[in-house]
Symmetry: C2
Subunit: 454 residues, 2 copies
């Protein structure tokens, strides 16, 4: 068994709810996705398979972008119909795992930086250095309307706010120096007041005095994850992110994105090796190639076209209901997730799909073709990894939790045999396992485009 220095990393993309639009209908899917036991089971499965982290998506509303209606969304269980708050869910997993990284998606648009900095610092302490924050800026009007606004901020404003938000959270994590907590019962000294500092941030969006009421996280900062695909998103991610989550329909698209992000990071003075790019995949594994294709078809059959289109409408932030469902998706500018649009255009052109067919497909799998026997799937992953498409993968399940069991038990051993993936955890924190340096106090200044506030 060879053991090359560069190994790939694995994240699991999980929804704290019923999962993919057709997934809840699958006979192997478990329906107790409201219970702590369900998430603890997934966490244990992933830790057994030596995954780097579990990653919870989020949305702050039931989407109703398709047909401007909640009806198809709720009726067919489109993505986001029901979604638990990921933070307490991660708490349940933190308590029964030892190595698995714990990532929650939290928007910078509808909450305050003090609350977010504190929540992740808490999770990092509770888990002994395993927390990660997937930073999103939110682009659904449905979300804005649950938080006192008529419509979402435009992209430029969202990223300006996100920039300042990140600076404030980093200042709060740094407000306790690493050795500020003394805990000497004799003197007595609980914390050294000389090593705890107010933040006194006053900027365009935020005024925060500080200090945080939690000591500096074991990891310094939680692992920062971002998924920007637009030019402003890519720039933000190249500066701030430790891990980048993306989505591509082909290896060529993945390579272009990978080279672009690593270049942007280097241009900003960062070590490109300190950013891990983990594209989403939705593997479908079976005993034979043909059986995997058949399984993919059966999975697509479980998706009501309207459910897939409802999810796609929300991802693209475009109402697809008025477009003819027997014709192809037309070319358009999308205000939503650029990466998803590029994927579905590529799918549409390659397979000549109608909008209805696209809906059924999109609700099942859509990130390239990662179906086949376990060995074939491992081949594809190896190719993407070795040919400069990625640093690892974010594995999504067509049905939860079964597809994670299959991937962990069937595909991971192939990756391990090839020396591409760990057989045991070696680090003590998530940053260690990902090969990321621990940020020193003030590290955020290297990531900020310019300092906001004073």
């Amino acid at each position: 068994m060879s053991s090359p220095e560069r190994q790939l990393h694995l994240a699991a993309f999980v929804t704290a709810g019923p999962g993919r639009p057709g997934g809840w209908r699958h006979p192997d899917s478990v329906s107790d996705w409201r219970s702590a036991a369900y998430y603890q089971r997934i966490g244990r499965t992933l830790e057994r398979a030596k995954f780097d982290l579990i990653f919870f998506a989020d949305i702050l509303a039931v989407p109703y972008r398709y047909g401007d209606s909640l009806d198809p969304q709720l009726r067919y269980g489109a993505l986001g119909s029901m979604r638990l708050d990921p933070t307490p869910v991660l708490g349940t997993i933190a308590g029964v795992t030892e190595h698995l990284g714990l990532a929650a998606t939290v928007s910078t648009t509808y909450v305050e930086p003090f609350a977010v900095a504190r929540s992740f610092a808490t999770l990092d302490h509770l888990s002994n250095g395993r927390s990660a924050w997937n930073i999103v800026t939110s682009f659904q009007d449905a979300e804005a309307r649950n938080f006192g606004k008529d419509s979402h901020l435009d992209r430029a404003q969202r990223y300006r706010r996100a920039e300042e938000f990140l600076q404030v959270t980093a200042k709060l994590w740094d407000s306790w120096e690493d050795d500020a907590l003394v805990l000497d019962p004799q003197v007595p000294v609980f914390a050294d007041p000389e090593r705890v500092h107010r933040v006194d941030h006053h900027g365009e969006w935020f005024d925060v005095q500080g200090p945080l009421n939690v000591a500096r996280p074991p990891q310094g900062y939680p692992v920062l994850i971002q998924a920007g695909a637009s030019p402003s998103g890519r720039d933000f991610a190249a500066r701030w992110a430790d891990v980048i989550f993306c989505s591509h329909a082909s290896l060529d698209a993945a390579k272009d994105f990978y080279a672009d992000i690593k270049g942007r990071a280097a241009a900003h003075g960062r070590d490109p090796g300190q950013i891990k790019i983990l594209p989403a995949i939705t593997p479908v594994v079976a005993e034979t190639t043909e059986a995997a294709k058949e399984k993919t078809r059966r999975l697509a059959d479980l998706v009501v076209a309207e459910a897939g289109l409802s999810t796609l409408s929300y991802h693209l932030d475009i109402d697809l209901a008025p477009f003819p469902h027997d014709e192809a998706l037309p070319e358009m500018d999308v205000p939503g997730v650029q990466g998803h649009y590029e994927e579905v255009r590529e799918l549409t052109e390659k397979h000549g799909m109608t909008l209805r067919e696209l809906g059924k497909q999109y609700g099942g799998t859509h990130e390239g073709d990662f179906s086949g026997t376990p060995s074939e799937v491992a081949d594809t992953l190896e190719q993407w990894f070795t040919e400069g498409g990625c640093d690892g993968f974010t594995v999504s399940a067509v049905y939860q939790p079964g597809a994670f069991d299959e991937f962990g038990e069937q595909v991971v051993p192939h990756l391990q045999k090839r020396g591409l993936f760990r057989t045991q955890y070696t680090g003590s924190t998530l940053r260690d396992n990902l090969g990321l340096d621990r940020p020193a106090s003030g590290d955020w200044r290297k990531r900020a485009v310019h300092e906001e506030g004073r």
Copy 2:
């Protein structure tokens, strides 16, 4: 063993941090209060002792009310020097317990009702009906300054906002009817769109469209806890609260409060039996009466006077640093917690304490005298319970977690032998265990003083 119909209820008051000002110095206190294991251990201890619930206090800042300085606060580990976010902490406990209620303190002043409604609905699903929300309105400028404000809202404004906040969260919990989630994979129907409703709330403080993206909590609403001691606080609590947390220096004071709240509830048309009043106690248990007194003195010795006065300054929202520490606490109007002021005035008068002595005492125990042998402590609890002082107690630990072990192992068996406390859990939700009805959809209208918004 007799088993009278009326049994008392027990909550445990826990800080997600080092606990009482002197507690962290105690040799039996455990210093890993940053780890999930610490909280899981407390949760298991309380469940073994058949407690109704664990209740986490909170504050959104390091207080600096004493001497307008962080220094004594941090140096001596006064209450609130470090405090983890209770929500992920409760997640870790939810995953390893089956019966224990899980209460977090969340302020209505610095967050949005959608986020709070969702977080508690999530916890209620994850724990199968065990969540509780301790509603506070926040009165520290230190908190305001971490959330973009110069100073905290005045009491009238805070309670107006809290009133509307509660109405919005209740509307969101009701936005899914109890049977809205259908989960029929054949038809298919995920949720019945006819039974999920927008909220469309537009009020003085909040505009929220809804619906919530989480189905109605198993308990209907989480158990609502409140601690108002001022007249506006009492009125709010009598209308909204299922459980009332309070603090009294004597049984007489407890009886007055108890009668007042039950009267206010009845005047508002509520069944007074549906409000459980659980005053705080800080028991000190030892083998003999004299040993318990000596233990109390030793505990007070661990408290640096400045640490106790720092905590008291924050509770009263008055800077006590300028007052002569060798004289008694003068009479004054306090903007902070009325109940705490009444307690310390009673202590000061009874024992002729100087401010410095009061500081040492306040950092240890201050809620009446619940020290003695296990049987003597049980006597006092029985007296308070049977003479109309309370429906049970909120037990605070002089040192965490040891004092909870002692209470559970030594005092609880006496209460059980006397038929005053359960020997096993009989309900399936926290509401069941507390003897509280499950609120039907729309129940909040009976609690609201008048409907805010439209």
